[in-house]
Structures are given as C-alpha cells and as structure tokens.
C-alpha cells in the first residue's frame, strides 16, 4: 500500500514505514535513545531526501519519547530535577548547533561533517560501553563486589544540588555542560542525542542506569521539539504525513520496548545498546571508505 508524502514528494510503502517506526520505538523504550541515529539513515535508504529525513526524524522522536517518558514516570524512573538542568543546557546547545549547521551548509561540506560526526561519536561511545559492560558482566558472574563510584573532579565543583531520584549530590555544572554538548551535537547530527547522553550520564555523572533512560527521554522531548520547530520554520522540511505514519509505529513500539527493558539486566541492556551503536557506526564508516558506486552526486535542495 503506497502513500504519497506531500513534503518529501515521493511515494512510499506505508507498511514499511510503520514497521520502521515500530522498530525504532522499541529501541527508544528499551535504551532511552530517541532512535534518530537509526531512523535518519534508514529513511535515506528508502529514498527520502536527507533534509526531510532529518527534520521529520526529530518530529517522530518527540512522539516516541513522550510515550516512553510517560511509561517511565509511572515507574518513578525519571529524575525531573536532573532533566531540567540537562534541558536548560540542551536548548542553548541546540541553538548554537543550528547556527553552526547553517554556517557549514554555506560551505557545502555539511554532509561529510555529519557522517564523520556519526562515525567518530558512535565508534568511541559504542566501543567504551561495550568493553566496560562486558567487564561488568564478568565481574557480576564471578560474584565479586561491584566497583565503587569514583569521586573525581566532578564532585569538587560549586552549585551543589541534591538529585534525590538519582541518589546524587553533585554540582549542577557538569549536567548542564553535558546537556549543552548533546544539544550542539543533536542539532548538527539531526538526532535526539540519547546515544551520547546515556553513556555520559552513566560514566560521567555516575547516575544509576534505570534512572538514566527515563531522564534522557525527558530531555530529548524538549530538544527535539525545539529542533522540529527550527526546521519547520527555517527549511520547511518537516513532513507531517511521514511523521504520522512513523510515530504511530513508534509509540506502540516504545511501550513494548519499555516493558522489555524492565525484564533485562542493566549490563545486558548496555551490551545490546553498545553492539547496536557499533553496528550503525560500521555501516556509516564503510560508506565513507569504500569506493562509491557512482562518483557523482546531485546537490541536495536549492
């Protein structure tokens, strides 16, 4: 069954889109990632113009994140105070990111930069998470005591705030900075930024994994809503019809994903996410290094 998308200006299979939305929704609920880093490249493969894929991806992430965060709120696994601190940094970062994006667009190399960003960030984070959680899994099998949280420079900064849900008493500066960095990257890469924020929260801020997912989703809602509006106004590339089909699949998937995530162990969850991140990274890296089928490419937009 085909549906014609008014903004993307192509006709696509509605069931395929629905399935894509559902798949990303499941991941979103399980790992607390928006799924933008998966949905955007997958939309490219379906022949949807990159500009439309990026903008519409952001819109679809809003829906799956709302659905996911409501499920987490009910389980009290959202640190609202931490989320607000991250968010204030995130909005500033997103604004900076959109400015940088437009600057690079003028220079004509934005596509390459986006791909390089993906490969570098996905590679580093995926690799770190994979080996760390593998080690953690071995330790827990041996039955040894879990490693104590290290008290580094993060704990010596001023403006200390008590984050009760996370069980932390740390300065507000590191979370705001994490939010800022994620905001910049999410605007440049056209994703929610969960795949960067989740590890940052676990390894940098020392938050418990179960709280990280809900809090990340909470922050993603607002950053992607901001990005959607920015794209709708500046480049008019948000396709409501495409978003609608994706998000119907996405919200259902998110509910299933959240339920699945509760059944898995935190370490298993992290290994699965790390493997997924590395897989996408590998695919993107191949595209950069292998000789393309056609050395020529038509310019996007204009």
């Amino acid at each position: 069954m085909q549906v014609y998308l008014p903004i993307a200006e192509i006709s696509v299979n509605i069931l395929l889109l629905f399935g894509l939305g559902a798949l990303v929704g499941i991941l979103s609920g399980m790992f607390g990632v928006g799924g933008g880093f998966l949905i955007t490249p997958l939309l490219f493969f379906m022949g949807i113009p990159p500009a439309v894929a990026v903008a519409t991806g952001a819109n679809q992430i809003v829906a799956s994140s709302v659905s996911g965060v409501l499920a987490h709120l009910k389980r009290r696994t959202v640190d609202l105070r931490m989320g607000t601190v991250l968010l204030s940094g995130g909005i500033v970062g997103a604004a900076v990111g959109i400015w940088v994006f437009n600057l690079l667009k003028g220079m004509g190399q934005v596509d390459l930069l986006v791909r390089l960003c993906y490969v570098v960030f996905l590679g580093i984070i995926g690799g770190l998470m994979f080996f760390e959680s593998l080690a953690a899994l071995r330790r827990s099998r041996r039955g040894g005591p879990p490693r104590r949280k290290h008290h580094g420079w993060v704990h010596g900064l001023p403006f200390k705030v008590r984050f009760r849900t996370s069980g932390l008493y740390i300065s507000a500066i590191p979370p705001a900075l994490v939010g800022l960095c994620v905001g910049v990257l999410s605007a440049i890469m056209g994703v929610g930024g969960g795949f960067i924020m989740v590890p940052a929260m676990i390894y940098l801020l020392g938050m418990p994994t179960k709280v990280v997912v809900g809090t990340s989703l909470f922050q993603i809602i607002f950053v992607t809503a901001f990005t959607t509006m920015a794209h709708a106004i500046t480049s008019q590339t948000v396709d409501i019809l495409l978003a609608l089909v994706l998000l119907i699949g996405g919200v259902i998937g998110a509910q299933i994903g959240t339920a699945l995530g509760m059944r898995l162990k935190a370490e298993q969850l992290r290994i699965a996410l790390a493997a997924l991140v590395l897989l996408v990274c590998g695919k993107l890296a191949l595209d950069l290094f292998l000789t393309p089928a056609d050395l020529f490419e038509l310019g996007v937009g204009e």
């Binding site: 019809l241 998000l247 310019g299």
Partner: protein, 252 residues
C-alpha cells in the same frame, strides 16, 4: 472585404504539406495521498492534403518535459582515505522529468542540427553554460546527471518504439514515476522527414497536488510556525494516547 483578403492570403501562402495534431489522454495529473506515478497516453495524427510521400519516410518524435530547474552536480574524490565531495558544476537548467520517444532509431529520426535547434534529445534539453574554469571535463558532470536521473526513472528514452500507422496515426504511453514534482509539463510532437522537422505541435500537462497533500504543502510554506506546532501537537498527542491506551489495556 476582410474575408476576401484572408482567403487570398491563405491561398497565396505556401500550403503546408503535412501537419501534426496531438491529443493527451488527460490534461492534468492529480497528486493524491495514494499517488503512485501516472501514465499519460499521447496520440495524434498527420493532416495532409496530398498523397503520402514515401521517401524519405516520415518519422515522429514525442517528448514530455517537466519543470526546469538548476542542479548542482558534485564529484567525489578520495582525500585521506575518505570519499569527499570536491568539485561541483552548476547546471543552469535541467528538466526534472524528461521522456523522449521516436518511431525510428534516433539518428534516422532527426539530424544533429535540428536536434540542437529544437532541443529534443535529453542531452540537448539540459542547458549547461558556465562550468568553472578549473574543471576540464564538464561534460562528465552532465552525463552523471543524466545517469542518476535515468536510474531514478526520471529521464527515459524510447527510441524506435512509437507505433506510426500508415504514416498517419501514432500513439505512445509515457509513465511518470511517483517522484515527479509539481508544475507545468510540456508535451511536444515533431514530424520529421529526412532528419528535418516538417511540423511540430506542443501542449501542456498540469501536475498538481490536490486535497490533503495541497493543504499540508501550502501550510508548510505559508504558515510554517503553525505547521511546526501542528506537527508537535500530533506527536505529543500520539505519544500520550499510546501510553494511556497501554495503561488501560494492562489494568483492564
């Protein structure tokens, strides 16, 4: 008096031996929600007052062209192991869709000069004047554009495929893919003899979005802030709705 003058004029002007008339199976294509490409049947006949001249034989060429826009073509090069867009050529005017069909092999249908004058073949329909000085082989960029669009089904050639009955009646069906853009499409028919155009006829075909497609597209262009808000409201409502539905399902 005037009528007499007109009659005189008509009689003294050299009578055109053969004239082509054309019709389309439809004069507009509506892009609806379930739009999946469209087929247009182009048919026509040759009007003549004398007997059919057999040699050189009469040929017919039909072309359909979409709205013309500038296109940037990039060429990739390997830099530090990575494939990077390095050189670009701005092609001034390229039709977004172009199909050309003929009743005989191309070199028998039209001469090079006539093709240049009427811009019938795909290569001629694309206009590229100013390639940067640094790029020597600007032709390869134009070739790439044709190759990419042919692969997407946007540029098509059907040489030696139009059925031309008794050198009088012809018809050809041209399929447009779902990726065509909105705008006014031009359909042209050329009648050639010995490579020279003896008669031609042009007509237009409107491709327009209708209904929901039209409304959403206009909203996104004219009231983009409202459109952005609408997409957010839908997203949030869908997210909340799914959550509420699942809760009801579990408790009930």
């Amino acid at each position: 008096m005037i009528r007499a003058l007109l009659l005189l004029l008509a009689l003294t002007l050299p009578a055109r031996a053969e004239e082509v008339v054309m019709g389309l199976s439809r004069d507009s294509v509506a892009i609806t929600t379930d739009f999946n490409g469209s087929e247009v049947l182009i048919f026509g006949a040759v009007k003549r007052e004398a007997a059919i001249q057999a040699d050189p034989p009469l040929r017919v060429i039909v072309s359909v062209a979409g709205p013309v826009t500038p296109v940037t073509v990039w060429r990739k090069e390997r830099r530090l192991g990575i494939w990077v867009n390095t050189e670009a050529v701005e092609i001034d005017a390229a039709p977004s869709f172009y199909a050309v069909a003929s009743s005989a092999p191309w070199d028998e249908s039209i001469s090079e000069v006539e093709d240049l004058r009427h811009k019938v073949s795909i290569e001629r329909a694309i206009r590229s004047v100013g390639a940067p000085m640094a790029i020597a082989d600007s032709q390869s960029f134009t070739d790439a554009l044709i190759r990419v669009r042919e692969r997407a089904g946007l540029y098509k050639t059907f040489y030696d495929s139009v059925e031309f009955r008794e050198s009088t009646l012809f018809d050809v069906a041209i399929r447009m893919p779902a990726t065509i853009v909105e705008g006014t499409y031009t359909t042209r028919v050329f009648l050639t003899r010995g490579g020279t155009v003896v008669s031609q006829h042009a007509s237009t075909l409107e491709v327009r979005k209708v209904g929901l497609e039209r409304w959403l597209f206009n909203l996104s262009r004219n009231q983009s802030a409202l459109y952005g808000l609408l997409s957010l409201v839908i997203a949030i409502a869908a997210g909340w709705g799914a959550s509420a539905a699942f809760r009801a399902l579990k408790s009930g």
